[in-house]
């Protein structure tokens, strides 16, 4: 079963087109939405949440977001990078507001998370550090025990320690109930290697890759070779290449097949960031 199913999400702005985005977020999985700034990640999330109007089919928990919006949103927790309830409230006041908004609001869970994250209860949010603010947003998003978390850039601008703490929270959230899912957009792809099951890669408003994270890291490889060696490789057998001072670096999408076909074995394991960079910046 899929917690999110989107088909042909399109949205046109001046100078930007989100072009027929389709993907699923299966129950029990973490899906990472990656791409550079301005690629269309946030627009996709906004379309999923019906914050912007788009020509599309968006189903969450098998219901149409355009028809059952209010009901669906009772079961979703959302964290947005640049927007929250108000900067002029304290966590205590947030609690008092949220229990009126969500019918399943779990006050005890919220209190416990606030304590666990060491967040001062009576301090205005505008005086929080960015790490503390993000932890508060996450605590608020998961305290009504949603079936689905949608997170837009939850780790951007945070130091590695806070980022790792936050990833732990997500891991725990998923482990608590196997029907839960997370859709997480980020341009810090290293975070995803540890947590995501699927990667959806958006570039210039189009999906250019949708794959299982493990398989992606297993199948792809970076070949280092000379100019002569590179000239022997057929175009279909690589994604893109980068010309270095002394050697060529080539992104291969089927490492094992490649090794069989060509007698070249210096193939490194790429990171998701490498793959993303080769797709965006590499030559063909």
């Amino acid at each position: 079963m899929n917690n999110i199913e989107i088909k042909n999400v399109s949205k046109k702005y001046e100078g930007f087109l989100l072009d027929k985005i389709s993907f699923n977020v299966p129950a029990g999985t973490v899906v990472g939405l990656i791409g550079e700034n301005g690629a269309g990640k946030t627009t996709t999330i906004k379309a999923i949440l019906n914050i912007i109007k788009s020509d599309s089919t968006v189903k969450i928990f098998n219901k149409d977001i355009h028809q059952d919006e209010k009901k669906i949103k009772q079961d979703i927790g959302v964290v947005l990078d640049d927007s929250f309830l108000s900067d002029y409230l304290t966590p205590k006041q947030i609690k008092s507001v949220m229990k009126e908004i969500y019918s399943t609001w779990d006050e005890e869970k919220y209190n416990q998370l606030i304590k666990q994250f060491n967040l001062p209860e009576n301090k205005l949010i505008k005086d929080y550090s960015s790490g503390m603010k993000m932890k508060l947003k996450i605590a608020t998003a998961i305290s009504h025990n949603p079936k689905l978390l949608i997170l837009d850039e939850p780790t951007s601008g945070l130091d590695p320690i806070v980022r790792s703490e936050i990833l732990d929270i997500f891991r725990k959230y998923i482990e608590e109930d196997e029907t839960r899912s997370i859709l997480l957009s980020t341009h810090i792809t290293t975070d995803l290697e540890h947590i995501s099951d699927y990667i959806v890669f958006i570039d210039k408003g189009k999906i250019i890759m949708n794959a299982q994270t493990d398989k992606l890291l297993e199948d792809y490889g970076i070949l280092k070779c000379s100019k002569e060696e590179f000239s022997k490789i057929k175009e279909d057998d690589y994604v893109s290449y980068k010309k270095g001072k002394y050697q060529y670096k080539v992104l291969i999408h089927d490492k094992n097949n490649f090794k069989k076909k060509y007698n070249m074995t210096t193939i490194d394991k790429p990171s998701i960031e490498d793959i993303m960079l080769f797709y965006i910046k590499g030559e063909r």
Binding site: K46, I51, I52, K73, S83, S86, L89, I101
Partner: protein, 224 residues
């Protein structure tokens, strides 16, 4: 759901507590200093009514609108909440103005028995209803424009509206004077009594209703 949004706005407005008390004291002192005691209720009603609109500014600074649209609340509820807050603050401001003017007037009469201020409940009621009409007119124009263009541009517009209203008032006063008619509070009161305060309140309610319909139409299709 609306209760949650109302709570959010009221918590935001709580930071106005001190300013509000100072303004009310200032108005009180100003009332004592003049004979225009009836204007106290109008000024207080308008100030309290205007403060409620500043929740749009708080929303804009915190970029709350985008987040609020991710919550299980409908766009209709979001719009309706702003009107409940605006109308509530107008009623509260009017009540506060009415009661405070009465109290201050009576205290002054007690302190200065040789210089009594004649406090007529009817006249005070008439000016308070006048104040309600004024603030409901401003809010009815302001709220849809804030939904459409945001709080920052809306605020500039607010000053323009107030300026234009004052100008129209001054011009009307000038023309009345030129035409030889004199206007005093009793006359105004009798006019108001003739038309009926209830009708003025009904007109205010109608303005809010039309304004709400426009705001909803604007916000229904707005993208954050």
């Amino acid at each position: 759901m609306i209760k949650g949004l109302l709570k959010k706005d009221l918590y935001n407005l709580a930071s106005y507590k001190t300013s509000l008390i100072i303004i009310v004291i200032f108005c009180g002192v100003a009332i004592i200093g003049t004979d225009a005691i009836y204007w106290g209720s109008v000024v207080i009603a308008i100030i309290v009514g205007m403060i409620s609109l500043s929740t749009f500014n708080y929303d804009e600074i915190s970029k709350s609108n985008k987040y609020i649209l991710t919550l299980p609340v409908t766009r209709k509820e979001i719009v309706l909440e702003k009107y409940i807050l605006a109308i509530g603050s107008t009623i509260l401001g009017a009540l506060l103005g009415f009661v405070l003017t009465l109290i201050i007037g009576n205290i002054m009469n007690y302190l200065r028995p040789d210089d009594l201020i004649n406090i007529s409940i009817e006249a005070l009621l008439a000016t308070t209803v006048g104040g309600i009409f004024g603030i409901s007119l401003i809010q009815s124009i302001q709220i849809p424009s804030m939904f459409k263009w945001g709080a920052e541009k809306g605020r500039i517009q607010m000053f323009i509206i107030i300026f234009v209203l004052v100008l129209i008032g001054a011009l009307a006063g000038f023309l009345l004077k030129q035409s030889g008619l004199s206007i005093d509070i009793e006359k105004l009161e009798s006019i108001l009594n003739q038309i009926g305060l209830l009708i003025i309140i009904l007109i205010s309610a109608l303005m809010y209703f039309i304004s709400y319909k426009i705001s909803y139409k604007v916000y229904k299709n707005k993208e954050e």
